[in-house]
Amino acid sequence: MEFKQGEIYWVMMKDTATTGAEQKKDRPYVIVSRNQINRLGQHVVAVPFTSKLRHACAHRILIPTTQMVPNPACARKLVDSVALTDHIRVLDKSRLEQPKMGDLSETARLGIEGALAYVFDIR
């Protein structure tokens, strides 16, 4: 299974095969690691989304659905979200629910890149 930068996945905190239930902490993440890295190991680097728009602030980027391309094969619905760039995480690929929820637009993906540069103070 190939994972690409800018793809949005529903991420399960625990293995649903053992828990059988969705957790409160399950949520969408967008992959931000470059594709070369995504092909290497069993992990990707990703930024979590929240649907609570009041979290939007300087580096926490508001992503309207107009900047997302939904995957028609996915039953989960994309909603206006905030990318919590300061909660960037390493994720186990096995926790990324298939199929993907969708993709970010190029502008939004690169906008998150800019916010991450700010978070890490990369000038």
Binding site: K24, K25, Q36, R39, Q42, H43, T50, D92, L110
Partner: protein
Amino acid sequence: MDSVLEIERNRPQGGLGELPTFVGLPTKNSARVLSEEAAELFKAILSVLNDLLLRAIDVQTREEFIALRSQIFDDTRKTQKAMGSLAMVVIPKPTLDRLVWESFSEMEADLTEHGAKKFGVVARDQAIFTVWTLRKINRLLSRIVEGPPISAELKERDKEIAKDFSFYVYWAQFHIECLFAAMRFKKPITPDVLDEICDGLRAVVNAYGLVRQGIALRWPSQDNEEPGTFEWDEEDQELLDSSMADMEEMEIEEY
């Protein structure tokens, strides 16, 4: 929330490489390097810009601000462009680059010193992020302007990016300059209007995303090449397991 998308876009015709370098921001040091005539001209343009901005921040409600902004945004953009174009004619490039750099530093320093008291911490942080990103945009834009010409088959795409970029960068600049006008002229901004200004500042993220697309058009990413060999070992697995375990403890509200 999506007001930034609702404004009619009066777009330029050129590509990103033909856009003027981003020089519309005021700087306290610029007067020192200008001839008397040029300084007078700058002062006159700045005065027009200030009048427009003061009208914008003088309103009391979000609705009034939105209505007024739709009347004056295009004029502020033309004024900012005029200032930028004039600067490129009368100031040597290396000096101009230094002045632009200094203007960003001055803005960051002003916001750090006075921003929280004037606008509150949230708006101050949003404004600092905006200036930080504008500085990054400026650097990327310089790289594009100084870079090789774009190939003929990519010109149309470049023009599209430039049109959108131009809108978003001036939109962000308009809102950041509203904040600086409030500081310069010691004018209060009502919380309602401040919320709308902060919303307008978000356009800087789109501007960054678009200028990065311009970079990618000229210097394509090598990201699709095959990675080298890599062995996933126990330590990698431990780190990954630990990261996932940490996430169980993560303090983010429910999605």
